[in-house]
């Protein structure tokens, strides 16, 4: 059974058919919400609210886009509203400098003691929220630029530019704060 058929089931009153969408997308939804809100408690509330909104507005879902893209867009908007965050303020030089400053002490840390997850978590925390979110959407879900544009409401060239800058910044912070070989082979 494909997703459109499941959507039709939900629309015809079969609430339990909606559980499929919760199972399938809740992990990515919470990852997106966490990137914007910055803590798990708020991220959980945002995801719950987003799913309820999606259920209420199921009739407005058009099969032109994937269900996941439509849902992530709702999660994105709900998280922005919930956290009152301005996502795309642009990267300021001071932000980047601060990011490096925060990591300077860690230059001495032996990465063998840290797992990769903690390193990435640390790196993403140091990046501007918007950039961290773009990397999350691009690498975790293999979302093409077009879908990222739909989710974030940015246009495609803008997403490409921001993604390029985000990727560059990620590598710079990584190289500046950790020995890359340790990250690769840890």
């Amino acid at each position: 059974m494909n997703e459109n058929q499941r959507v039709q089931q939900v629309l015809s009153g079969n609430t339990s058919a909606f559980a499929y969408f919760v199972d399938a997308y809740q992990d990515m939804a919470i990852t997106i919400a966490y990137r914007i809100c910055g803590n798990m408690q708020d991220a959980e509330d945002v995801v719950q609210e987003s799913y309820v909104k999606a259920y209420r507005n199921m009739h407005s879902f058009r099969a032109e886009s994937k269900f996941s893209t439509w849902l992530y867009r709702i999660v994105y908007n709900t998280a922005i509203t919930h956290s009152k965050t301005r996502m795309w303020t642009g990267i300021q030089e001071t932000e980047i400098e601060n990011a490096f400053d925060l990591g300077e002490n860690r230059m001495e840390i032996d990465l063998d003691e840290m797992d990769r997850k903690a390193v990435v978590s640390d790196l993403l925390q140091k990046m501007p929220q918007g950039d961290a979110l773009l990397l999350t959407l691009y690498y975790m879900e293999d979302n093409p630029v077009k879908e990222i544009a739909q989710i974030t409401g940015l246009n495609e060239p803008n997403v490409k530019v921001k993604l390029f800058r985000a990727r560059k910044l990620f590598k710079e912070i990584l190289e500046e704060n950790y020995r890359l070989e340790d990250v690769r082979y840890s």
């Binding site: 909606f18 992990d27 919470i30 990852t31 995801v47 719950q48 990435v120 690498y139």
Partner: protein, 121 residues
């Protein structure tokens, strides 16, 4: 060579990012489904508009069905108590006509009432 290096870097970033994927807590699905079920239960179901023709036939069936039942009971009673001759007497026929008229009048009043209600809407 440069492309290879870029691909490798892309792969490293992808692997690193995948390790940071958050896991939704066990009870989140339950919370979501419970809220949806609750909202569904609290939302008043829209009542389907009754069909006019169905209502008309239903009213006729109820009123004239009752009328024929009363007439059948009257005929049966008269036959058992007074015999066949009484069934053909003008007195009995007048009673039957009266009962039929009362029910017909009642049906007319019902229709008139329905007409006025429809007009008011």
């Amino acid at each position: 060579m440069k492309e290879n290096k870029m691909d490798k870097e892309e792969m490293i970033i992808r692997e690193m990012m995948l390790s940071e994927r958050k896991k939704a807590p066990e009870n989140l699905k339950f919370r979501i489904m419970q809220q949806i079920e609750t909202e569904k239960a609290l939302t008043p179901q829209q009542s389907k508009p009754r069909k006019r023709s169905g209502t008309l036939l239903g009213e006729m069936g109820a009123i004239f069905g009752s009328m024929y039942a009363v007439l059948a009971a009257m005929i049966m009673g008269a036959y058992l108590l007074e015999g066949t001759d009484f069934l053909l007497s003008p007195r009995f026929i007048a009673t039957v006509v009266l009962v039929a008229s009362v029910f017909s009048l009642f049906w007319l009043m019902t229709r008139f009432d329905a007409y006025l209600r429809g007009k008011r809407k």
